[in-house]
Symmetry: C2
Subunit: 334 residues, 2 copies
């Protein structure tokens, strides 16, 4: 740390070609080192497991698609019975950096979050009881839970703990901006650096900072001007019932923002430039020049990192006794 600070003193004033993360309000996202590979592998299976849903076709990956952007790129998700979800699905990439989960922060962490959609009527429409019984009826899951958690029955606590362990690995390191933060001065264009400077100067950085460039505070959507939306969510107010929390939402991460359209909790805005302008207007009371918007968008695109390489899990089959068979056939013992 000290050597970085010392080094910075040697840089010419305004020499904005390279930097060290210690000096910047945005920090590098580092690759994760997996400590409990068996738990992460179990969590991956569960993340892709459609039997967590009532229909048998919806998994975590349905709305947080790891092949695209960790989200479904829809204004709001489509769930059980083709129901429209109430709010935009946030990306699961780098979600472990969030101070809490969901737009209103009603879940403390990834583990608590994972329990929600399973039982939400418009999402997976199942119950924790059914999910636990389903998994417990599958011998391979029994063995894997045993290997990871030792004895005792499968329960929703273990299910969501494993899913969270997998999700915590879904970080996107090595974005151009990270490489630049680490000292590679050539990787960002002059336009991108100018965009970053503007991003800091006009005040975006006040909320979008830290390793995830957001996700670490709650803020009112519409500080200077109200945000007009058909979405009925009242944000944090739904959790705290405090009047001051009306329309207060968790600040979303800007990591991989070019991949995660449409934007905002209502998913109403598809263009990144428009999203920047709306934010500047309603949060900061500013009208950006075309050049400023364009520069900031160029900077934001430098936040696209390396998406995780996921080997698709091979889900264990359901045993026959779980099937809705008749009693006509009884098989002889082996």
């Amino acid at each position: 740390m000290k050597s970085f600070l010392f080094l910075s003193l040697l840089l010419p004033a305004g020499g904005f070609t390279a930097s060290s993360w210690a000096q910047e309000p945005i920090q590098v996202i580092e690759p994760v080192s997996i400590k409990n590979a068996a738990k992460v592998e179990l969590g991956k299976k569960l993340f892709f497991e459609p039997r967590l849903s009532k229909s048998g076709i919806i998994s975590c990956n349905s709305c947080h698609n790891l092949a695209s952007s960790g989200t479904d790129n829809l204004p709001t998700s489509i769930g059980h019975g083709w129901a429209e979800g109430p709010i935009n699905s946030p990306t699961v990439f780098n979600a472990g950096y969030n101070l809490a989960q969901f737009w209103d922060g009603r879940a403390a962490d990834l583990k608590e979050q994972a329990a929600g959609p399973i039982v939400a009527e418009k999402e997976m429409a199942s119950s924790h009881d059914i999910v636990v019984k389903t998994l417990a009826g599958i011998p391979q899951y029994q063995a894997e839970f045993m290997a990871v958690y030792g004895g005792g029955n499968i329960n929703i606590d273990k299910v969501t703990d494993a899913i969270a362990a997998f999700e915590a690995t879904l970080v996107t390191p090595n974005s151009d901006f990270d490489l630049w933060l680490k000292g590679d001065g050539d990787v960002l264009s002059a336009k991108q650096i100018r965009g970053y400077q503007t991003f800091k100067e006009i005040g975006c950085i006040a909320c979008h900072n830290g390793p995830a460039v957001g996700g670490n505070s709650y803020q009112k959507m519409g500080v200077v001007k109200p945000y007009l939306t058909k979405n009925t969510s009242l944000g944090r107010y739904q959790v705290t019932s405090r009047a001051a929390d009306k329309n207060v939402f968790k600040v979303p991460t800007l990591r991989n923002i070019e991949l995660t359209a449409p934007y905002f909790h209502d998913g109403a805005v598809w263009e990144l430039g428009e999203a920047v302008n709306v934010m500047a207007s309603i949060q900061l009371g500013r009208t950006l020049t075309v050049q400023q918007t364009s520069d900031i968008v160029a900077f934001l695109k430098s936040l696209t990192g390396e998406r995780p390489q996921i080997l698709l899990p091979l889900l264990p089959p359901s045993p026959e006794m779980m099937f809705k068979g008749t009693d006509e056939v009884r098989l002889a013992d082996e």
Copy 2:
């Protein structure tokens, strides 16, 4: 080949402990060697591409889930608008061995098949024109199609050709039965070998033969007794309009059959033993003993192969001009 035959002469009569594929009506499935890796990779992206659907959430993988069994394990699939499909989704694993695609064989091959669900109202509900325009608007797809197919525009012919090239790689080699066919006498239990013998003796083998243990002929569902079902499909009749083709379907593969419940074109039967008994009854006019059914089920489970290891593709983002943005913001040139 000759040495195998020679070897077999040395086996004691009834020495049913090992075999060579040359002698058996079921042949080994071999791993595929990929010739055009770029095409297969492009096809994999398209297989997982939800933008092939009107909603943006349904891909080939939705109903042919490569994390489970190459199917969705539902009686009939759920598609656009939560519509129920008309017929059970067959597994995509080893589908390249089929003499034709779909239960009624209306598509000649994997390529022709891939074009169907994209436009089916109850499946992806899109159009070939929209899909081609969508893909053509994504620079990374433009580059990949160029690399694979040379010049010229993206068209549905190339899209389905690439999907088919990927699907042709989805084989499941090295099942216990294949190892046994190759001469490893220890891998099957006595019960499984007895089940195979029964399978051959009572006549199942007449239709379920070849490398895919099926998929290579059309047969009437209900040769001896009618098959009672609520499903309205008339099978091959829908393709040929010949009265003799009523209720004639492509014989499904029995590879990985323990993974692909529920069974039959209507997906009405969830238990493998029940499926065996129904087939014996309506196709062969036989009532199996509990032991015979159990033995055949044990044999069928030896047909479960190694499922393909799929590295989830990373789908390219949609460019901003494709988004439903307003004209309010126009970005300056870079």
